[in-house]
Symmetry: C2
Subunit: 350 residues, 2 copies
Amino acid sequence: MSKKTMAVVAAACTAALLAAGAAHAQDKKVRLQMASSYGSTLPILGEAAAAFVKKVEAATGGSVQIKFNEPNALVPVLQSFDAVSQGSVDSAWTASAFWSGKDSAYNFFSSVPFGPGAAEYLAWLSYGGGKELKAEMYGQHGIHSITCGMLPPEGSGWFRKEVKSLDELKGLKMRFLGLGAKVMDKLGAATQLIAPGEIYQALQLGTIDATEFSTPVMDLKLGFYQVAKYYYLPGWHQQTTALEFLINKKKWDAMSPAQRAAIEQACGDTVQETVAQGEATQAGALKEIQAKGVELKKWPPEFIAAFEKTWKEVIAEESAKNPNFKRVHESYAKFRAEYAIWREYGYLKQ
Amino acid sequence: MSKKTMAVVAAACTAALLAAGAAHAQDKKVRLQMASSYGSTLPILGEAAAAFVKKVEAATGGSVQIKFNEPNALVPVLQSFDAVSQGSVDSAWTASAFWSGKDSAYNFFSSVPFGPGAAEYLAWLSYGGGKELKAEMYGQHGIHSITCGMLPPEGSGWFRKEVKSLDELKGLKMRFLGLGAKVMDKLGAATQLIAPGEIYQALQLGTIDATEFSTPVMDLKLGFYQVAKYYYLPGWHQQTTALEFLINKKKWDAMSPAQRAAIEQACGDTVQETVAQGEATQAGALKEIQAKGVELKKWPPEFIAAFEKTWKEVIAEESAKNPNFKRVHESYAKFRAEYAIWREYGYLKQ
């Protein structure tokens, strides 16, 4: 080939690449392994992960491909934080409350007892200080975290026996995730954190007497109705729950701006979609749970009052023990206090 | 160039294009003109449009560029539906209620009096039948519509005089958008729809006695506090408001799957971001409005009851007049009725 011919060829190739979209021309294909805390068949919790992965692939025209891995396939669920931190796993689909053993302040980024609904919670997370605190706490471990889902209230739990008095919580063995567990412990229960895939068996075998897990749709799917006939609501411990996409920070930084933008927007889109899907499906699930012979129970006011009073004690105790908990709680509480005038004037009373 | 050389060159170019991302390699650059119903400096309403445009450009690496045009720059605000339908304008940033003159059923896709908050409304729009009805109504006019923002409750309106009795609504000249206008008219007011950029002057000149517009943040920006000293809340007529990105259907269909996915996800991300930003900023705006000497007024219960009773009459009358209104309302009402058990059991009482 003559030099002139080569120059013409080079120019033609460059033009073709430019026509293909300036920024994407430089994008290297990225393939990420993703560990999930929730099984792929779990409504919303797992299904949203599958939808998120497809969204990213669609919007990037395949330049980013994320491989969903079932819980424990790459690493045990409760070790996925460390795996993503070290880079032995690229990314994870999970919720911050799973890392409460590392630092109780992580809880604030997935759910807070007696906390707000999805809209006010998103406001604190995105615009009220939550995002920066979360970036700091995950960043120290080399992890980039993106809020990637938002669920409606959970049920309060499945109980094999009716709970007739607060005294009956004493000694109760219960699976519990998040800050609500500390409340239950103070009221005398013995809580433990069991990964989602292992709860049913523990309840069936009597290793635990009760369990909370998620919203009615997901709880129905896990079949708890077969072994526990009392479903208590509302979920005072989790009035909304944020899901997260965690990714090793070096892998995140190595992607192109367009790839990172596409992932962020796929997460944002997943937030609105999980809100919509979550709200659209719970009523049907409650009716189906009833049809399976389960009794829906609302906590009497004295229980709700006891839970709330105990939650305030937990705040005080954890704040005294953990400066990080104190700092994150103060950001959250300040936001809610300032917001109060809007709740009072802006909303019709239901 | 020999045939062999040409084959080598072609192969090299193809490889370069494949490396650039398979789907994007086929993407033609798309430039869209977008007419906006809201000025670029309007908090959230206009700012979200600018953010949306940037999101699309970022995620597509510039392969889709949308040009924001100020209200009336391309076409008068109230004619942007027709312009997008005919293709003389590619796209529009707006809200469905602006087209209530064409068909009162369009109102259901932006807001409904005594309607739900953002989460339940998104549930109906996305999973309860709203999306399909909307696609049909816009599709008949060659328009593709994507929900692209979700706002917190509006204020109920700015009044130059205190409203001491329902009788004082009679003869009141008020700017009003959406189905709430029909309620106010039945209560004796004379409502008119004035485009956002022209409301302040109408209120200042006394062409109107009162106006509703949007949430406190946006209302503050438009300066109504300078000419009206009573701000009534809550906005019974609009407890949440969906914004829309409308695009000419032929232009939409001509884009690549990746480009369409990126736009859809940018809209979804904008929904969650407007929810968060909307909720995060109203309390501060209310306090600033008070500081400017405006009295915040809550409608007394008898007003709220009268508004709600009249709204039910409007439903009956419009349903009798407009089969489309009846059909869309029935979908919406059926969803809310089924949802009721979830509201009752799932949520803590505030």
